[in-house]
Symmetry: D2
Subunit: 367 residues, 4 copies
């Protein structure tokens, strides 16, 4: 029944509930010799914190990470790295009423059915705080990817009906607006839209897009551990994700083959280029050397103050308004979560890709 261990050669075991004593992760399989300190991880964690804009609730969660093992004299030892963030600002009082009913759109009912009971405080393990472990591990994976030259650019592509204009794609804008959109005009419009949602005690969904650059070609293990298949699982496992797309995604279903195929041509230096990238950088489940483009669609935050019909545990149909400290949208906070899951997955498949060819393996063990 275990489901909290992810990966093969780079294994990530997350643990922790929103109102338990802490949340953390054990990273097993990080190669020895990587310089690593708490700050490397804190930078990533800070990107998921609430209270960073008026569009997220003013909860204060310091979420300071501590490294408990696996690092010696500033470098990873190759042994498991245990990271923990102690829960400090979680208030049980806010959630006491929730124990009596099932919140629509949350996992209250499914957890109750699966386990027989649930930790009703703030969602327990199904809480968004569970992503702390993923992001901490993602920080480490990203650091290793950087050593190999791989980079990931992640951003909010749309919020509700407001989409970033990809013709005006501005990477520097991402970190300059609290919604992490690569188009400041769209960010402004989205801000207005969110204020409307908040006034109406409602919430919104959105789409996060991710561009992976300089991924070595040849990575992905057919037939089941294809790069796109693994990325799909990684992103879909993030709470609130309801769809994953690679390249043209759903749109590809409407295309003709003559349009959808990415043509090849030789560049001046003899390397093979693609003159389009509708495939999103993956063919046959294997990276082809061009940018890998993927997308995750997030449903709106389920917790809203607007009245909703539901049931309580006494057999009654009721209506609830979910009080408390909730975001009208989680997408900006989830950008680093998508990036982290992508990083962990890419690294794991890079590792297993090292054994694809006999000549590479023999060369590795010679001298």
């Amino acid at each position: 029944m275990s489901g909290s261990v992810y990966g093969n050669l780079f294994k990530v075991s997350t643990w922790g509930e929103s109102h338990g004593r802490g949340i953390g992760v054990v990273v097993d399989g990080c190669p020895a010799g990587l310089p690593l300190c708490e700050e490397d991880i804190q930078i990533f964690l800070d990107r998921r914190k609430p209270g960073q804009s008026k569009y997220t609730t003013p909860r204060k969660e310091d979420d300071a990470v501590e490294i408990l093992s696996g690092v010696f004299e500033g470098k990873t030892t190759g042994t498991p790295i245990s990271l923990v963030v102690y829960n400090k600002s979680q208030r049980s009082g806010d959630y006491s009423e929730i124990a009596s009913y099932y919140r629509p759109g949350h996992a209250d009912l499914t957890y109750d059915i699966k386990y027989g009971f649930r930790d009703y405080r703030g969602g327990g393990r199904s809480s968004g705080r569970e992503t702390i472990g993923r992001v901490a591990a993602g920080a480490i994976a990203s650091k290793i990817l950087a050593e190999i030259g791989v980079s990931i650019c992640t951003y909010t592509k749309s919020i509700g009906p407001i989409e970033a204009d990809m013709d005006k794609f501005d990477e520097s804008a991402i970190s300059q607006n609290p919604l992490y959109m690569p188009d400041s005009d769209a960010a402004e419009k989205a801000g207005v839209f969110l204020e409307t949602c908040m006034k109406e005690h409602d919430s919104s969904g959105g789409i996060i897009e991710c561009i992976i650059r300089n991924m070595p070609a040849g990575i992905g293990d057919p037939a089941f551990d294809k790069l796109d298949a693994c990325l799909a699982k990684a992103l879909m496992s993030i709470g609130a994700v309801k769809a994953v797309e690679i390249g043209d995604g759903m749109e590809a279903a409407r295309h003709r083959g003559s349009v959808n195929n990415d043509p090849y041509s030789y560049a001046a230096d003899g390397s093979i280029l693609k003159t389009a990238n509708r495939s999103g950088g993956i063919l046959g489940g294997i990276s082809d050397g061009s940018d890998i483009v993927l997308r995750a669609a997030f449903k709106p935050t389920p917790s809203i103050a607007k009245l909703q019909p539901t049931v309580n545990k006494d057999g009654e149909n009721i209506e609830v308004s979910i009080k408390g400290r909730h975001d009208p949208i989680i997408v900006p906070r989830a950008v680093v979560v998508v990036e982290s899951m992508a990083a962990i997955t890419l690294l794991d498949l890079l590792f297993s890709g090292m054994t694809s060819r006999l000549d590479s393996v023999v060369r590795f063990f010679s001298k």
Copy 2:
């Protein structure tokens, strides 16, 4: 580098290339006592064969399956079940030219990069014939699911721009038209559309939808082996899939929370119903007892006779028209592949779900 073993308690190891001696699968973890014969599996395999309508190429592939182990006196023994389909009608001659260039939209280039060379005949392991193993295993999984009461209804939801009208959803129509659409009018229009594609030496993509009924609630193992995450990987691993959706999918990103949440209410018999199902039957990564709805978007068949720019292995930019026996659309043949991957995944998670609660485990082992 292994990537051809799928699953945990119900393990599926597929093997075989389009022009090798055969294609097959080993199913490990099938419980003992299931009645099983070749015909049970042949029924599933026959649904993926080409040459079943004018919209697929007239290749004859008998694909008769043989059971080599794991069945005794008509029932599974609990030991591995080895299934094989010998390749009979694969003609090497058709593909000899392909060795000299990379076909756009295929895995030719990525396989060459990953492995250093490739079996260029018909796509080798990246060929659609690789799905024979998946479907054979899916037939077995489906039989077990049926014993538990779970059923899967899979169909073509759209072909190119032609969509089935879900208000006129007619399950009986699925098996009555060669495109497996649940709307005979749409099937007719889609047929006309495909004939246009064929005339233009082009191909089309499409979307397959899948409804899973009577899945026990409480199945799925957070945080990484969530039911939706595992299904996403299962479907995305099928060749040509570029997106996977659960419930409202990409659309959920445009919703408000008040619209997207599925409200609960009590039925007369005291059970908890949902009055909508935008979540697609999964919340928090766990089945909630309502229908599970998912979708896979297929890109168009890459092999088209229309001229396409590409490169050959001698450093030249060329144009090719891919001759040979190719389908203008693979979606109808892929319906049973989607169903099979879903079946295998559901079964594996049902198995691991048996250990979620201590009381169930203790009861299992008491006399």
Copy 3:
């Protein structure tokens, strides 16, 4: 390269080095509803502490365990259980010299080669303190096994040349002597022997034996996850173990078939008994319902004050006397480690055994 995650449905991820900030484990897959508190785990951990007799060194290690997640209102939630023991009494000063040379019999050299460098303080991850995580997880597994009726009796069978007399096997004696031997006379003799070792600045090895009672028959998954194979890996993974035996073990190689086979006969109540148990309760890799008997041989503690030849990192052959706080024998402290690894393994295979028969699976999912 990950190697610190053990198990399948009951997954155990250990972490921590002797001189890091703590040592712990994440248990993933513990069914929901098990009553659990720190005391349940502390009882197990206390059995591995040093300083409990004159035959172990007087290091004080309080090793108080803390539960950081996975338990709510006194019962497991079914989510990952994170356990930690903070290192308090580890003194770096004692080990500074060790950085300059390789201790014979330790993993200093192999860790240096594998990782490029090592945490030289007290053995780092190769330290016996790493077993804290295993034992904590074993406490949880044992509690679940108890609910199923399975019990494990573990003890020191021999120390150096002194063997417990199995004809005088006295289970109550185990907890009454500091060497955990089931024969108080042997325990006395072994004590005298150990005092000789200590005077000579030397150490001794020993054998631990383990009897598992009431294990349901039919558990173990051929061909590779056989019960004995999994137990062998579990025990051999414990530091200092150099051999694992099932039933008659090495002795079976000297037998005739007529002697070695365990005959069957019917008991009065119609159940099938074995009139001997040379097989140790496992046939064909599957439990047969009788007592499972296994043994692990521990080499002597490598750290001794006696002068030993070795090399330092400056290219010189030297002689060292390893000062510091070391046990002349680790076997008594390892008894609970063997028991824990056995418990974890038995539980994991009991879980996977739930899917062996279709009728059981169908019954499980019916109302």
Copy 4:
């Protein structure tokens, strides 16, 4: 419940029963570019065939292997390699009586309990013929190991009370006597001993030893996937194995630390040598560069013509003499099985060892 898939990066899925249609294996994760043909594998399989000496029964089993996938133009493609041996000379008639009772020392009863029924012909999946798949996979693994320079020397160390004299160890003798002993005098004495067994309608056990040379140092993944732990599981999973030893094995339990520790010293060329090898080449679960020495103890063949007490399925205590074609000893035929399981395990850990150090990983992916 699956248990027939072994390994991680080099995955081996075996299938087949003694009286099914065939026996085989799918090897997933073999790097591309390895020259491979049926003969490479047949050489290994021929070493396990019966009827090769008067000490094994005169069954004729041609066991010709066929490669069904994964090889193109004489080299592995990196895709799964499916190997099959069709059962030709298995006679059902010989075993019809066995259906009615449980043979002592066999897995008849445990399989019946686990699965609810069994394929009673010749042991079904528990038959020694199951090792065909292991050996076929071992042939491939050995070929890759040879490319890396690793070699495995395996032989019969003892048969019943007759032991090979290691002071007269003669590697060339191994292939020159039908018992595969590295001491021709011992082989002669063992032959006499076996003839006695045969006259008495009895059987004997024995010990197989294995020396692995030139294994790179630093291989093995603590804490659970240690090299010795994985080898222990690999060997213990072979039918009839009751104990596994590394280095001094059980004997280490009787040693003092001053005797058991392997001292280090520098060789003239600056490399670190051990002047003894009681550890068997593994320290802290990691290879240290010296010869790896391990041992498996095999119990005697359970099927003997001598009368044995047992029970039948009608509730009666009976006596049986197991007729048919059985070996008085299986050890000589198991030598290649031990070698194969060792090869597969070593290769899998060599693969995962490639990610131990960041500098190696970075170097691997740089142009």
